[in-house]
């Protein structure tokens, strides 16, 4: 098939064997060509098959061999040949550029083959890792994951409520009851209300507390002490607790307001 012997140099040694494997029975050709993933794949095959040095590719030989394949492809599977034809053009261009007279010292970057070599090397590296990825055990193919059965009972999670939801609800309460326009709840009032609840909780536990016990003068700052005091006054005003003192300067006691019929101020 191929008249011209190879004239490739492998590590300085002449390589002149005729590549016997280039002959493919015509009926097998289609299958054979489909084994190549594209022109780069075919080039790599040729380079490997003939032990060419990828860093010093004999362009004339490689191009010639490549063209043999492409001609066969054209004969059988024209639509496959598009990418391959583009590569033929590139190979011929590189070959002709190498024939041009050049300065004695050529930088490696100026080698017309540099781009082709880079692409071949990159593609080969990808080919190798693709193979390794293919061979790795995968879930469903060599890796079996534990999947014992369990009775799924659904546990209903309570709804999420955000501050915005809450503010929105309060807003709609206010909106509906126009007479609540005077309810301007500010931060100060909220802390008073919070402390009203806190004091009621403590009185629920202790029943009777000395006035001073409610204040942690050492740890609470002035604002907090004031809030406690306001909370006590507000609770008294709403009739929720009773403040008693036996006589002047004796301890002041706070207790839950008792039944109205028994103790009335």
């Amino acid at each position: 098939m191929i008249e011209t012997p190879l004239n490739a140099k492998i590590k300085g040694e002449d390589f002149t064997d005729l590549p016997k494997d280039l002959y493919i029975p015509p009926d097998a050709l289609e299958v054979y060509l489909e084994a190549f993933e594209g022109p780069l794949d075919l080039l790599l095959y040729l380079i490997r098959k003939h032990n060419l040095d990828i860093l010093d590719i004999p362009m004339a030989d490689l191009t010639r061999q490549y063209m043999v394949y492409v001609e066969k492809m054209r004969a059988i599977k024209l639509e496959l040949a598009g990418d391959y034809l583009l590569m033929s053009a590139m190979l011929i261009e590189i070959k002709s550029r190498m024939l041009l007279p050049k300065p004695t010292e050529i930088a490696i970057d100026d080698d017309p083959r540099a781009e082709l070599v880079r692409r071949l090397m990159e593609y080969e590296a990808i080919k190798l890792v693709a193979q390794r990825l293919d061979e790795m055990p995968k879930v469903g193919e060599g890796v079996s994951v534990a999947s014992a059965y369990f009775q799924h009972i659904s546990q209903v999670q309570p709804p999420e409520v955000s501050l915005d939801d809450l503010a929105e609800a309060w807003r709609s309460v206010l909106k509906r009851a126009s007479h609540f326009q005077h309810h301007k709840v500010g931060r100060a009032e909220l802390s008073v209300r919070e402390h009203m609840s806190i004091i009621l909780r403590r009185l629920k536990a202790d029943n009777l507390l000395e006035f001073t016990q409610l204040f942690d003068v050492v740890n609470d700052g002035i604002p907090k002490l004031v809030v406690y005091f306001l909370a006590i006054l507000e609770l008294a005003r709403e009739g929720l607790l009773r403040i008693t003192q036996q006589q002047a300067f004796s301890p002041i006691y706070i207790q839950i307001a008792l039944d109205l019929n028994k103790n009335h101020e």
């Binding site: 009775q151 609800a169 301007k184 929720l240 307001a257």
Partner: protein, 181 residues
């Protein structure tokens, strides 16, 4: 010579197959695991032993219509349910407004809430808030009937990521912005 030389190893093969199978495995499925011929009686005996081996563990080997499978013991169902919780739909408007009133006006009685909302408070609404541990009773108002006084809990603050009620959005701004003068 034989691929699986002892009982422990045979049981291991059965165990790993049953632990990783997505569906129950029939006796025929399980026999396929072994190249060498195995009597069904032998297989049954091995499965019985495997079942015993797991008797005190987290899974149990059970037989269902289509074969054998490992399944989580019942006592773990509640834990496993937490992995894939189903979120309940949002709270009703009644629940949210009641919560807002308790948060902003606490301590309040049910009567206070009804007065503000203008409608009766459904017992179910209060129950939802108390079950969530967002609201509790902090005392009684000393009026006839001694109605309970409701307030929000520490847990409510935690869930809403608040240090104190003072961090609730103040409503002053709202009133100002709504009423155009």
């Amino acid at each position: 010579m034989s691929e699986t030389s002892n009982i422990a190893q045979l049981k291991n093969v059965l165990e790993v197959a049953l632990l990783t199978a997505q569906e129950p495995l029939s006796l025929d499925d399980l026999l396929r695991l072994f190249v060498e011929r195995m009597e069904r009686a032998t297989l049954r005996m091995l499965l019985d032993e495997l079942k015993q081996d797991w008797a005190l563990r987290t899974l149990e080997l059970v037989q269902v219509a289509s074969g054998y499978r490992f399944q989580a013991r019942k006592e773990y169902a509640n834990y496993l349910a937490r992995l894939n919780p189903e979120r309940q739909a949002k709270y009703s408007r009644a629940v949210m407004e009641t919560l807002a009133i308790i948060a902003y006006r606490q301590p309040v009685t049910r009567g206070d809430i009804e007065e503000i909302r203008g409608v009766a408070v459904n017992a179910n609404v209060m129950r939802q808030l108390q079950e969530r541990d967002w609201v509790d009773v902090v005392g009684q108002r000393e009026v006839p009937g001694r109605p309970s006084l409701y307030a929000t809990t520490q847990h409510f603050l935690d869930d809403l990521n608040l240090k104190s009620l003072a961090e609730l959005p103040p409503m002053e701004d709202f009133v100002k912005s709504e009423i155009k003068l």
